[in-house]
């Protein structure tokens, strides 16, 4: 029998291990929610309304903004959100 045919893997060989989701917040009252504006037009309109709704439910809201929607958020911004917030909502708008 001939040797088995093999191909070389063109991918980074990181099979997507399914990561468990973070546990959901059980309530909003007293929690800090980050709102991340990705700098697309009218994202602020959407987030203003989300902020109102969150505050009505007793949450504290912090606002963040990416420098440009075309690139991933800078590391320091991601770390700031992770340190200061219990949860984050990222707004896509156009």
């Amino acid at each position: 029998m001939s040797a088995p045919r093999v191909l070389l893997d063109p991918t980074p060989e990181q099979r997507p291990a399914r990561r468990p989701r973070q546990p959901r917040l059980s309530e909003l009252d007293g929690r800090c929610i980050g709102l991340l504006d990705i700098s697309k037009a009218r994202g602020d309109v959407f987030l203003d309304r989300v902020e109102q709704l969150l505050q009505q439910r007793g949450a504290r809201v912090l606002r963040f903004r990416k420098p440009t929607f075309t690139k991933p958020a800078p590391l320091d911004l991601r770390q700031k959100i992770a340190v200061e917030c219990d949860a984050v909502i990222e707004a896509l708008a156009d």
Partner: protein
């Protein structure tokens, strides 16, 4: 890598029976072996030549690892280390190397040898796999007995929608011959998954795209440029707009690898043009994880997303090449990446004066993306030879042409304002600014490239994407061997 034992001390000869010169020197080898220790490695017949101590090298391991190019080759070895070698039969050289006088008095002074079996074109690829596959670190994916190789690549999600060349170790090792770089050298960190991409992974994807080994340095340079912060392939991939990296190759390598800069330059039919652009996109897909419907959110996309790569016609151009205009030294091999949409045609078959032709270009360029949107996008303007002739004959430089286009593309704010012309789309205009002139493109935002041919009073324009540091900037990258 497979190890081979060191060469025995004394004299060592590599021969094959199929070589007339080796048969000619067989008596000489017997003559030498009576005086000094001699070991003969025989490539095709362990019994040849008779009367001397032979070693079987029909597997060609010693021949491969000692870099034998022709037979007979005579080598002097001391403590396992080669001191000197002689190729073919040369009486004086053989006498000097062996220290044995009056070798083969009946032989001619000199006879060239034959090609070593270890460099035989028909066997080289197989030998490379046997002796150097340890260079490859990528995971081996075994195929089932009845599995079709090309269908297997589709099934594993490695294809852009067209068949790919299955990346066997043999093909990938051959591809790696196209570069001096180590297979494990990291070329770039590829978005969106931000994965380190080695030369080997680029080579695998270049095989799949259909590249020849001599294209590999261009593909590597394109990957480096695409993944730079300035070019920002991440944003280009993720955007809803129909844009892709457009590759323009400059320098002598264009001709060396047979690229097309003439008839049908932006179309099909040339292997280098078609496969180099495709290889970059396969790296983004397979290494970076950038796939349509996932991070790639293009509303329409464009055929250029399969890969769009072409060469500039430098020889026929009235101007310095695009790469030089962007700061590269003249004569350098470069690839320039432009973030652009698919080409659109500009037809002007009547203008014979630069001013008239410039006005045609400006009228068409104004419409890029939208006639009322300005300063958001660059453009790549491909000028065909019959249009370029108009400027050459009038003695216009590249900067004169782009300068005039910038002048003609200053548009009254009143025409651009939101709502103007009954069109909601447009720019926000401060009140009182209606009389101001707004440029369509930023300074430096019109890039010229000369290509296409032979007949046709046409040019082509490719609109860009979000320009500047917020989006993507054209990047010129040197191609290194």
């Amino acid at each position: 890598m497979q190890e081979v034992p060191p060469l025995p001390s004394g004299l060592v000869a590599f021969v094959k029976r199929d070589c007339p010169t080796c048969q000619l020197v067989a008596p000489v080898l017997r003559q030498i072996s009576k005086v000094v220790p001699l070991t003969v490695f025989s490539q095709d017949d362990p019994g040849f030549p008779e009367g001397v101590e032979t070693r079987d090298d029909t597997e060609l391991a010693q021949s491969w690892h000692r870099g034998i190019e022709s037979v007979p080759t005579l080598i002097r070895v001391v403590d396992g280390a080669e001191q000197q070698r002689v190729l073919g039969w040369q009486r004086k050289e053989w006498e000097a190397l062996s220290g044995v006088p009056e070798l083969g008095p009946e032989l001619p002074e000199w006879r060239p040898g034959c090609g070593s079996l270890s460099v035989d074109p028909g066997r080289r690829a197989e030998l490379r796999v046997r002796f150097t596959s340890g260079r490859l670190h990528s995971r081996r994916v075994p195929l089932a007995e009845l599995e079709d190789e090309i269908e297997a690549c589709f099934a594993r999600g490695w294809s852009d929608g067209l068949p790919v060349v299955p990346p066997t170790p043999k093909r990938v090792l051959a591809m790696l011959e196209g570069t001096n770089r180590s297979p494990q050298e990291v070329v770039a960190v590829v978005p969106p998954d931000r994965v380190e991409c080695t030369v080997e992974k680029v080579a695998i994807n270049a095989v799949m795209a259909g590249c020849r080994p001599e294209y590999l340095p261009v593909v590597i340079a394109a990957v480096e440029a695409a993944c730079s912060d300035a070019f920002n392939i991440h944003g280009l991939l993720a955007t809803t707009m129909p844009v892709a990296p457009i590759l323009v190759v400059n320098g002598p390598i264009r001709r060396a690898i047979g690229m097309n800069s003439g008839i049908n330059v932006l179309g099909q039919g040339n292997r280098a043009n078609c496969s180099i652009g495709r290889a970059l996109q396969l790296v983004v897909r397979n290494v970076g994880g950038g796939r349509p419907g996932e991070v790639d959110r293009a509303t329409f996309g464009s055929p250029a997303k399969l890969g769009l790569c072409f060469a500039e016609d430098e020889e026929g151009s009235p101007w310095e090449p695009l790469s030089v205009a962007l700061g590269a030294p003249p004569g350098a091999n470069t690839v320039t990446l432009f973030p652009g949409e698919a080409p659109r045609s500009i037809v002007d078959q009547l203008s014979r004066e630069p001013e008239s032709l410039c006005r045609s270009f400006a009228a068409c360029l104004r419409t890029l993306h939208h006639p009322k949107l300005v300063l958001a996008f660059d453009c790549l303007l491909a000028i065909g030879p019959e249009h370029a002739r108009v400027f050459r004959e009038a003695g216009w430089s590249r900067s004169q042409l782009t300068g005039r286009l910038h002048e003609l593309l200053r548009i009254p704010g009143s025409e651009l304002a939101r709502g103007a012309g009954g069109i909601a789309e447009g720019i926000p205009l401060a009140s009182g600014a209606e009389a101001s002139q707004v440029p369509k493109f930023r300074p430096g935002g019109i890039l010229l490239v000369h290509c296409g041919g032979g007949a046709g009073l046409f040019s082509a324009m490719m609109g860009g994407w979000v320009t500047g540091a917020e989006g993507s900037q054209p990047v010129v990258q040197e191609i290194r061997p």
